[in-house]
């Protein structure tokens, strides 16, 4: 009897904890459909979604974010996959140390250090901060994420498959391209989606290395949130929550395959 009470207590606590994690986002999304400008429910409306769609700043931010996430996602996936595979063949201590360091470096430090590098380099080059600097920065911090996902997948990958391929006449490249790569494909796709999300989400580093013409969606949202309450931000947030949810679920599905 006492034991069932204890179990009930634990279940109620877990339910509360999960509610704490989910409620803020649920409320945020709920109020994106509110007809009123204020935080009082006045009926269902898609009004704020319409406003968001017509906002030129949001549109530009979304476009920039998509371009940055797309390009840096592809670059970091290629670079990270090749590196993870090479390190699986034989460890590379300096590189893996560097990648771990990039994971534990506070975002703000990554951001200011890249800003220092770019500003230093611009004294010699005729360049300014812009989309390209944001992409470079995003690739720099995404490689570690990609490498971790691919390395996890390679840990359960059978080394004798490559030996068998070479035994049957494939060169090192042939064994990689025709045996290992097809087997890694779901992991690579998962890593790519993760890189996409990490890039799309970043505000801290991006805000430091972006130029005036390369405002990303999180930067636009930040500026709006700073200005004051607007249900438009809720609408955009709801869109991001759903879009991220879909991409991440897809990525997890692929990782389990």
């Amino acid at each position: 009897m006492r034991s069932t009470w204890r179990n009930h207590g634990a279940a109620i606590y877990a339910a509360c904890a999960l509610a704490f994690l989910h409620a803020p986002l649920a409320i945020l999304i709920l109020f994106s459909f509110n007809a009123s400008r204020f935080t009082v429910w006045e009926g269902f409306s898609l009004r704020w979604y319409r406003v968001a769609l017509e906002d030129p700043q949001l549109a530009e931010g979304l476009l920039n974010s998509l371009v940055i996430a797309g390009v840096s996602g592809v670059l970091s996936t290629v670079i990270g996959t090749l590196a993870a595979y090479a390190m699986w063949r034989r460890g590379a201590r300096v590189l893996s140390g560097m990648l771990y360091l990039s994971l534990v470096t506070p975002e703000i430090v990554t951001g200011v250090s890249l800003l220092a590098l770019f500003e230093g380099a611009f004294r010699f080059l005729q360049l300014r901060l812009g989309l390209h600097t944001v992409i470079i920065a995003h690739v720099a911090f995404s490689i570690a994420y990609v490498t971790i996902v691919i390395s996890a997948r390679l840990r359960s990958y059978d080394r004798t498959l490559e030996e068998a391929a070479m035994d049957l006449g494939a060169s090192e490249w042939g064994a990689f391209a025709r045996v290992t790569l097809p087997n890694l494909a779901p992991g690579i796709a998962a890593a790519g989606l993760l890189a996409l999300v990490v890039s799309f989400d970043d505000y801290v580093i991006t805000s430091l290395v972006a130029g005036v013409d390369s405002q990303t969606l999180p930067m636009v949202i930040y500026a709006m949130a700073r200005r004051g309450v607007s249900p438009v931000v809720n609408a955009v947030s709801a869109f991001i929550v759903v879009a991220f949810g879909v991409v991440i679920l897809l990525s997890e599905r692929l990782q389990r395959r």
Partner: protein, 272 residues
């Protein structure tokens, strides 16, 4: 050049140029002097570090450590029963784990904004309380240490639950039963069997929460409203508004060193 070196080359170049070099530049800047127009000049000086000993900046460092420590403690106390419950949930544990991770997989900025939306003067809580007539003027829920703490705990709780869950899940379910069989009460079983065995998971979870909290920038910025300045905000300010790069660089390195300490401790513990 063999295949392995060729494959390593892009990652090596990218991390050398865009990870190692920037950090090296920050190291160098931290020992230089601020120029008249915001640039960096010689002479070399340790002054940027000694300036951090000024009570104003020591206060910021102390506040960062205090907030990160407090957030870690709250995550540990709140996260342990949750992780234990999930680890013992049988077939439903994967679903429960997904539920913990789901909000974590949405945008960090959106998650922080959600609290801004709930806590601000015209936000959900204050509007509701005003309407119900409980209060006459909005409660100052936002722009204080409590709001920052809430935001940090909310954002990083999954970082504690996940590694602890991984440890608890591997725990042999026969062990608590054996303890009970030997006459231990549930509370004593928890203290003398489960906690010691879960220690590695707890340590990993604490480090995983403490490090990002210490370097947090967005949460104190949005929920603290500039009143609860932490190291991250100080660094950002020095590199943008104040344009004192040498001092900002010194603060960055101090932040990195303080972050590395618990990680080093954890790795050494695991190596044993």
């Amino acid at each position: 050049m063999n295949l392995r070196s060729a494959f390593l080359l892009p990652a090596r170049v990218w991390s050398a140029v865009f990870l190692a070099t920037p950090l090296a530049i920050v190291c160098a800047y931290s020992l230089l002097t601020r120029g008249d127009y915001g640039g960096v000049e010689r002479p070399w000086t340790p002054e940027n570090y000694t300036r951090l000993l000024d009570p104003l900046y020591l206060g910021i460092l102390w506040r960062s450590l205090w907030m990160a420590g407090l957030a870690t403690a709250v995550c540990a106390v709140a996260g342990f029963p949750l992780a234990l419950f999930i680890a013992r949930a049988g077939r439903r544990r994967n679903l429960l784990l997904q539920l913990v991770l789901l909000p974590f997989w949405t945008s960090f900025l959106v998650r922080t904004y959600a609290w801004l939306f709930i806590l601000r003067d015209t936000g959900l809580v204050n509007t509701a309380l005003l309407r119900l007539g409980v209060i006459r003027s909005p409660l100052p829920l936002l722009y204080n240490e409590g709001a920052v703490l809430l935001g940090l705990v909310y954002n990083f709780l999954p970082f504690f639950v996940l590694p602890l869950y991984a440890t608890l899940e591997r725990l042999d379910p026969a062990l608590p039963e054996a303890a009970a069989d030997l006459g231990a009460t549930p509370l004593r079983t928890l203290r003398r069997v489960i906690l010691p065995l879960a220690a590695p998971g707890i340590a990993a979870g604490c480090v995983l929460v403490f490090i990002p909290c210490l370097g947090a920038y967005l949460t104190p910025d949005l929920l603290g409203g500039g009143k609860t300045v932490m190291l991250g905000n100080l660094i950002q300010n020095q590199f943008t508004t104040a344009r004192d790069w040498p001092f900002g660089s010194a603060a960055s390195l101090v932040l990195m060193l303080v972050s590395a300490a618990p990680l080093w401790f954890l790795l050494r513990r695991e190596a044993r």
